[in-house]
């Protein structure tokens, strides 16, 4: 089952360029709807985290570190051809799996899409508590940071075009 889903997910990823944030979120929700218990869901998240190399080691710098209380999260952002590219990693594997979902939704998009996005899929697939301000795993700070990068590049773009 995991194998199948994994391919499905990679296909999803290839189509990312044309799909909207909305569509990718729906896609992930659908993927997760197959699981009827937590262990399967976590197994899947762990799988995702393992197979995707998320960040180049050279970007695992102190500047890119978002310090959560328990797990470390690194985020590296760059801007390319009008689109944001995100790479990230964590020393905790479930966090890393969730990161890979977030990147799948947000990476390779225009800044204003990202700025205005509402990441409801997290809630719908039952991972809401992971993005709660009270869960200090660095994920919420990471999403905030992703949006901040988008805002920054958006502002730069606007200035350039003025």
């Amino acid at each position: 089952m995991h194998q199948k889903l994994y391919i499905y997910q990679l296909q999803g990823k290839e189509n990312n360029q044309v799909k909207t944030i909305e569509e990718v979120q729906q896609e992930i929700i659908e993927e997760f709807s197959i699981f009827d218990n937590w262990m399967d869901r976590y197994n899947y998240i762990i799988d995702i985290s393992k197979d995707l190399p998320l960040i180049d080691d050279k970007y695992k710098t102190k500047e890119n570190l978002i310090n959560g209380c328990q797990s470390k999260v690194w985020l590296h952002a760059h801007y390319n051809n009008g689109k944001m590219q995100y790479e990230a990693d964590s020393d905790a594997i479930i966090t890393k799996g969730i990161i890979s979902l977030l990147i799948r939704v947000l990476s390779n998009r225009k800044p204003d899409e990202i700025m205005n996005s509402d990441l409801y899929f997290i809630d719908q697939i039952g991972l809401k508590e992971n993005l709660s301000p009270t869960r200090s795993n660095g994920l919420l700070a990471m999403v905030k940071q992703m949006k901040l990068y988008a805002i920054a590049y958006n502002a730069r773009e606007k200035q350039a075009s003025n």
Partner: protein
């Protein structure tokens, strides 16, 4: 005003009892308020379903407890209209909040010779921490004096605010006299000289709507138990810039970032000021109390209490041979008085046997007593659940006490 005031009264189970064989008329609300059933239910509900130490844990109970705690913080934020949630720090009460600010300010902002301005109408909690800090730092404590009406004498304020004044700390409503102090004017004058202002709202949040952004005060503090909430919880509001600027007070778990045996760095706001396991169930109870106030409406409370206050004052003034110290133009909730020839504790003891709970003594405001040259007073103070029956019982009892003691 309330269509059905009995509905409110029925929310408070403790009021429906007899003491010494008479119905209870509880008029000691400035000391502490009773708790509505919904607050008690909420406290038990959280102990029974979701008790778990907050922050840092990944398990379900802790997650729920943490979210509830942070929700309580937001409830308080909205209640006093603070700009940021992290400007709300949970303390164990007004006293701890003032001690925190006095200590932290003392550590970094106070030099020898600096001045701290309080008033003669303060509760000891807003005098002694400043006195002790001033002593430690060789600073001076000055105060705005009282007038015979029980009001602050603002004519001397301009002289009292000097270049050396580093903070002004004033209560909003006096617990002893019920005087509503002109905090807007004081804040404005202090701000003209860039002096931060702390408002001790222990006796006002339960009676008057408060908007810290409109008041523009730097700090505002109050106690949960005086606003229908549990004991052991309170609030310290501070403007973000000030809370950021001040060093922590108590230290321990949760308020730290990195701890080595050699050196510690601190957590962000508001946790920087919340050392150790906070009274998280207390915070939940307090936020339920605030929600209860919101449900019945602070405007309604205000008009009910103001009517009852006037009723009480009018009845008291009819008594012969009574000396009332609460004569300010603006006042609420608490009234202090004496029979000139009777010791207040005698009056209190007789009232007690007639079912009436009032406070007698100095009300933790000895400087006010010294000003009026009395050893203490009798104080009656009202809350939302009091009614004219309570007041009539109180006045009857006073008549009897006056007669017995004359």
């Amino acid at each position: 005003m309330f269509d059905d005031h009995n509905k409110i009264r029925n929310e408070f189970p403790i009021l429906h009892q007899q003491v010494h064989g008479t119905p209870l008329a509880y008029l000691d609300n400035a000391a502490t308020t009773q708790k509505p059933q919904c607050v008690l239910d909420e406290v038990i509900n959280w102990y029974t379903r979701c008790n778990s130490n907050i922050h840092r844990a990944v398990h379900y109970l802790s997650q729920q407890a943490t979210e509830k705690y942070e929700h309580a913080r937001r409830t308080i934020q909205q209640f006093i209209n603070a700009q940021h949630t992290h400007e709300i720090v949970f303390t164990h009460g007004t006293t701890e909040a003032i001690n925190t600010i006095a200590f932290s300010l003392g550590e970094t902002e106070i030099q020898a010779g600096d001045e701290i301005l309080v008033s003669q109408i303060e509760h000891h909690a807003n005098i002694v921490p400043w006195q002790l800090m001033a002593e430690r730092k060789n600073a001076r404590l000055k105060y705005i004096p009282l007038t015979t009406r029980g009001e602050l004498d603002l004519t001397v304020l301009d002289d009292l605010l000097t270049k050396k004044t580093k903070i002004v700390a004033i209560n909003h409503v006096s617990n002893a006299l019920g005087t509503i102090n002109p905090i807007r004017e004081i804040i404005q004058k202090a701000h003209q000289q860039n002096i931060p202002v702390l408002i001790d709202a222990a006796q006002s949040v339960q009676h008057l709507p408060i908007d810290v952004q409109e008041l523009d005060c730097e700090f505002l503090v109050f106690s949960g138990h005086k606003i229908y909430g549990p004991t052991g919880i309170g609030v310290m509001y501070g403007k973000e810039s000030w809370l950021d600027r001040l060093p922590p007070y108590q230290s321990g778990g949760d308020m730290v970032d990195v701890v080595t045996m050699e050196k510690t760095t601190f957590n962000e706001l508001p946790l920087k000021f919340e050392a150790g396991t906070t009274n998280y169930i207390g915070a939940v109870g307090l936020s339920r109390a605030v929600e209860y106030l919101n449900e019945i409406g602070l405007q309604n409370i205000q008009s009910h209490e103001s009517r009852l206050y006037k009723y009480t004052m009018a009845k008291l003034r009819e008594l012969e041979n009574i000396e009332i110290y609460s004569n300010a133009t603006e006042s609420t909730a608490a009234i202090s008085f004496n029979f000139p020839n009777a010791h207040p504790s005698d009056v209190g003891m007789i009232l007690d046997k007639l079912g009436v709970a009032v406070r007698t003594g100095t009300h933790c405001t000895q400087p006010i007593m010294q000003y009026f040259n009395i050893s203490g007073s009798v104080r009656a103070s009202i809350a939302v659940y009091n009614n004219t029956d309570d007041i009539d019982q109180f006045i009857d009892a006073l008549n009897r006490a006056g007669f017995m003691l004359q």
